[in-house]
């Protein structure tokens, strides 16, 4: 399943503040809902999102049950050098998802 959409501009000038947008597909089941039979639907959410820029962690977020399905996260960083952004989502029931994006800094 194609489950992530990453938006990082392909080129930037050194020192530019750039926006990074990351969307991933996930049901984000809160763990508070019940089925018609009254059984609790187990919680199934993404708990952590991290972004590494050439190996260095530049952004981390903890996610909680009130966050909508298919969470969209956007944040800013300073373009310092050419390289790669690595994104990682981890969550309940052993969920992991990774994605990456390249950037050229001039």
């Amino acid at each position: 399943m194609a489950s992530t959409l990453i938006n990082v501009q392909p080129k930037a000038k050194r020192g530019d503040v750039i926006e990074i947008k990351a969307l991933t597909s996930h049901i984000m089941e809160t763990g508070f809902r019940r089925t018609a039979a009254g059984d609790l639907v187990p919680r199934n959410i993404i708990t952590t999102f991290t972004c590494r820029y050439n190996g260095t962690e530049i952004f981390r977020a903890d996610l909680f049950p009130a966050i909508a399905a298919n969470p969209f996260i956007s944040f800013f960083t300073v373009a310092t050098e050419s390289g790669k952004f690595d994104f990682e989502w981890t969550g309940d029931l052993g969920f992991t998802q990774t994605a990456s994006a390249k950037i050229i800094v001039e």
């Binding site: 489950s3 959409l5 947008k21 969209f72």
Partner: protein, 259 residues
Amino acid sequence: MILLRAILVAVLLTASLPLRAGEIPLDQRRSGYSFMAPDTQKIQDDETANPGMLWVLDGQALWNKKDGTAAKSCADCHGDGSETMKAVAARYPAFDTRLGAPVDLEQRINLERERHQGAQPFTYESPDLLALTAFVAEQSRGTAIAAGDDPRLKPFIEKGNVLFMQRQGQLNLACASCHDDNWDKHLAGSAITQGQPTGYPVYRLEWQTLGSLQRRVRGCLYGIRARPYEYGAPELVELELYLMSRARGMKMESPAVRP
């Protein structure tokens, strides 16, 4: 309580008024997009923020996946979907000669699976069916809706029109009561739109997932306390067909985002 009473009064007032009927002229037709808050519009416009694009990507992968007893993929017959499926969704529901009735895009995909791939049809609203539909529909982005051109569809459009004008449910409302006669007003906090199906399948924030026009219409029927038609029922397809022909000339925007 006051709100409830106000709604009840509004409903009774609306129910007592005769339907004005008559289609909205082309220059006054407005997509649901124009009723949305700018923030929601931005989600739809940005292809990396629009969650509907996740299904489009899935659909693209499915397009090339072999399936069924014939071990054929959509691409084996139709080639590159981003070329061959251009403007196709804009003329659906279309007439199926073998069935002698209109079929919508979801039904067409399932018929192709049965007839050419020897595969099981997908269930309505399943992720795979939504993904393929979204992929095909996305190829019509910006195309003017042209459904209902086929003369064989005429009786079905008329049936859809009758259903659209027909009051039903405990609230005794017709589709037209809101979407023809009161589309410039509000129902509680929500804008009443014209009900133009320009962006299906849509990612609805309320659903937190992608959904078909049939799901949306069933939601409306539930809202007026009527018994929703089953998925795939001829009535739903006729309503879809009427809605698409009513939106003729409007630009497709699938996969759209709606509140």
